[in-house]
């Protein structure tokens, strides 16, 4: 099972939208996929119209046995582990229980019997939880709006990777919510796009993606031929190939 984390310390960059659409693209390509929502806002669950089971909470999550709390989406081969409001203190609980990256990965390991791909939709912060996710994931994918603050956040993330002694090759980044008409966007993209950790595919700022909140479905399920659906599909292929390459090179 490949663990792919959608992570950024900045909020509102399109992590959840990417996680929801990439998970759908993965399932459409025949892979058994689980989307794990770690963000207490539960937006991924909202998009898939899934509420967490009544007995599920942070404590149950950390105890393992996650299989019993997984729910099927409306789409074949795609399941979701919804977030719970109590996840807002997940990092504190990890700290209290002294759970490190290895233990966090062990928590997710049993899911490997059923799923080929596990996508983690992470909350926007830089805490103990983020450290564990970075250590446990096979690939950390960061959406980046081509603006100054986002670039700054990305630089901080690289620093965190170095501090945790995690290989930078595990990190990849794609431009999100891009708008050609904005000079700053164009300049930032031109400056960074050829760097190794940047993916070629970008997600433009599109109304179809915003409408996901109305349809409560991935873009490709409501508008399969739209630019947005196409962009996520291509992005998924690039991420998947990157993760394969990462595996081949032995991490």
């Amino acid at each position: 099972m490949k663990i792919i984390a959608l992570y950024s310390s900045k909020g509102g960059v399109g992590k959840t939208a990417a996680a929801v659409n990439l998970a759908y693209a993965s399932a459409c390509r025949g892979m058994n996929t689980l989307l794990c929502d770690l963000d207490s806002q539960g937006a991924a669950g909202y998009y898939y119209r899934i509420r967490p089971k009544s007995k599920f909470n942070r404590k149950k999550f950390l105890q393992g046995n996650l299989e019993s709390y997984i729910r099927g989406t409306d789409f074949r081969r795609l399941d979701l582990l919804p977030a719970h409001f109590s996840f807002r203190n997940l990092d504190l609980a990890l700290d209290r229980q002294n759970i490190d990256g290895k233990a966090f990965r062990k928590l997710l390991k049993p899911l490997g019997d059923e799923y080929d791909i596990l996508i983690l939709d992470c909350p926007p912060n830089m805490t103990r939880l983020s450290e564990n996710i970075i250590r446990a994931a096979d690939l950390v994918v960061t959406p980046l709006i081509p603006t100054t603050l986002s670039v700054l956040a990305f630089a901080q993330l690289v620093k965190l990777f170095d501090k945790l002694e995690v290989k930078r090759s595990k990190l990849c980044c794609f431009f999100s919510m891009t708008e050609r008409r904005k000079i700053m966007h164009v300049d930032t993209i031109t400056r960074f796009r050829k760097k190794k950790s940047f993916l070629r595919r970008m997600i433009p700022y599109l109304a179809d993606i915003e409408k996901m909140g109305i349809h409560r479905k991935p873009v490709a399920a409501t508008a399969p031929r739209s630019r947005a659906a196409e962009a996520y599909n291509r992005l998924w292929l690039e991420i998947y190939h990157r993760s394969e390459k990462y595996d081949r090179n032995g991490g």
Partner: protein, 518 residues
């Protein structure tokens, strides 16, 4: 990805509206358009997939393999050939059930039907799908009055919504639906409309005789059964769909010859000679093609035995072999379609349809069980005697003869197995099988080595092609020689296991003390 499915039998189509109304009180229903398509059921001639508890159908290149309870369905895209074999599927490893076909059998159409399918998702208040439902109805395709093969309603749970699934189950049970639907129902009905049945053919023999049946009667039913196997396989041997038809055709003839030879001293000489000559003639016309089939099936094993540089030569050799097989097959086909073949089979049938008592000498008209036990005991003693004479220096022929003895013993158990205790028989046959496997492999390698060596000698000229073939065959003969010695070394151990005291006692128990199970 865990999913639970339940299938219900739909007795009449009118009840569907009633069920949907009931469900609509508790769930939001999202119906999709009803689709009607023609599907074709498939299995190998000897029902290998059904034997594994699944049915397979296809619609164009889209295959569905469903277990009989309808709980698991695997859908994949594959070959659109009329008779697809495992090699025709791009990724057969992904579909474990296809492995039941092995490299030797092809799928064949069992019949076609029209299938209408209505899908309906059941949603909760959040408009989230909590269960999926399929309503299916099958019809014949012949004409407008084509038979109705019945319908079924399938409910599939969505993970994490088990309570909703239970609610659906309760509503359906309250609607009077029975859970007695199995996926083979439509197939059985389709076959019944054509006077056919599932599992109608198997190459395995299974006779059940009364303990007091006399030998002529038992022999007659065995011979007739084997003749039927010859007749059933004959048109398919000519159609050349897969290699197993010719194999089964020849096995039926070989079993008949073996039975005949075991009755040599009990039959009137003219009957025995007449039978043997007829069967030998048919067998001789099919031997070459079968040998070539075996070589063709060994291709990938041979390639794995050679280094990559020698693969080119072997591929060329196989091109020659394929050409030779084509020629030989045409020859065999002409003969099998000819008058002589028909005459021999009719003659044999005429003989078997009459009362066989007069064909037997007086001493052969007694109880079958007694005579069978005697024959088995005698054959076993012979194997023990011949086997004990085999030393490390004995020629390959000695092992070959022993293999034939083992085969004859095995056939005797296949014919008369119903006289003995099933458990003991199985235990004894397991040991016999181990010996036969060893001897069989040894003999196959001997024959293959000899053929490859002779082929190498026949190669003419010093062209690039012939040199490449010679090099490959040389490499292959060397590799086979190593394997040959390894198998030969295992013989003495395998033989000692077979003739151990426990096994001897087991056989004596079988033929002397067991009361029989019929």
């Amino acid at each position: 990805m865990k999913t639970s499915r339940i299938c219900y039998r739909l007795s009449d189509h009118g009840c569907v509206d009633r069920i949907l109304k009931r469900l609509a009180k508790r769930f939001l229903l999202k119906q999709k358009n009803e689709v009607t398509r023609t599907i074709e059921y498939l299995d190998s001639f000897d029902w290998r997939l059904f034997g594994k508890g699944v049915v397979c159908y296809r619609q164009g290149g889209r295959y569905s393999v469903v277990d009989l309870a309808g709980e698991k369905e695997v859908v994949f895209h594959g070959s659109q050939k009329k008779y697809p074999a495992m090699a025709d599927f791009s990724d057969p490893d992904s579909y474990p059930v296809l492995k039941a076909l092995g490299p030797i059998r092809s799928l064949m159409g069992l019949g076609m039907m029209r299938r209408s399918r209505l899908e309906c998702d059941l949603l909760n208040r959040d408009r989230k799908t909590v269960a999926r439902m399929v309503i299916r109805r099958d019809f014949g395709i012949e004409d407008k009055k084509s038979p109705d093969f019945g319908g079924m309603l399938l409910v599939e749970a969505v993970r994490g919504y088990e309570k909703d699934f239970s609610r659906v189950e309760k509503i359906l049970l309250a609607s009077g639906l029975g859970k007695d639907f199995t996926e083979d129902n439509p197939l059985r009905r389709l076959l019944a409309s054509r006077n056919k049945k599932v599992l109608s053919y198997s190459s395995k023999l299974s006779f059940t005789f009364d303990n007091d049946i006399n030998l002529p009667k038992a022999a007659q039913s065995i011979f007739l059964h084997l003749l039927e196997a010859v007749r059933i396989n004959h048109p398919w041997v000519i159609a050349d769909i897969d290699t197993e038809f010719l194999h089964d055709f020849r096995v039926a003839l070989r079993r008949s010859r073996s039975l005949l030879s075991s009755l040599k001293k009990l039959l009137r000489p003219e009957v025995y000679i007449h039978g043997q000559e007829m069967l030998k003639e048919i067998t001789s016309h099919t031997g070459m093609v079968r040998d070539l089939d075996v070589y063709m099936l060994e291709k990938y094993r041979y390639l794995s035995m050679l280094p990559g540089e020698l693969h080119g030569g072997l591929e060329e050799f196989y091109l020659d072999l394929a050409r030779l097989r084509k020629d030989q097959f045409l020859k065999m086909k002409r003969w099998l379609q000819g008058e002589r073949y028909q005459e021999l089979v009719d003659d044999w049938q005429r003989l078997l349809k009459n009362d066989l008592t007069t064909s037997f000498k007086k001493k052969g008209r007694g109880g079958c069980r007694q005579l069978a036990c005697k024959a088995i005991e005698k054959r076993f003693s012979r194997i023990v005697g011949d086997g004990e004479l085999v030393t490390e220096d004995s020629p390959d022929d000695a092992l070959h003869r022993l293999r034939i003895q083992g085969k004859k013993l095995r056939y005797l158990f296949e014919f008369y197995g119903s006289f003995f205790s099933a458990d003991n028989e199985q235990r004894f046959l397991r040991q016999l099988k181990k010996l036969q496997n060893n001897l069989g492999t040894f003999n196959d390698i001997s024959v293959q080595k000899e053929m490859l060596f002779n082929y190498q000698k026949q190669l003419k000229g010093r062209t690039k092609r012939s040199l490449a073939i010679a090099a490959s065959l040389g490499g292959l003969v060397t590799a086979l020689e190593d394997e040959h010695s390894r198998v030969r070394k295992k013989f003495s151990r395998t033989f000692s296991d077979f003739v151990c005291d426990e096994n001897r006692k087991l056989l004596l128990d079988l033929v002397q003390t067991d009361p029989g199970r019929s």
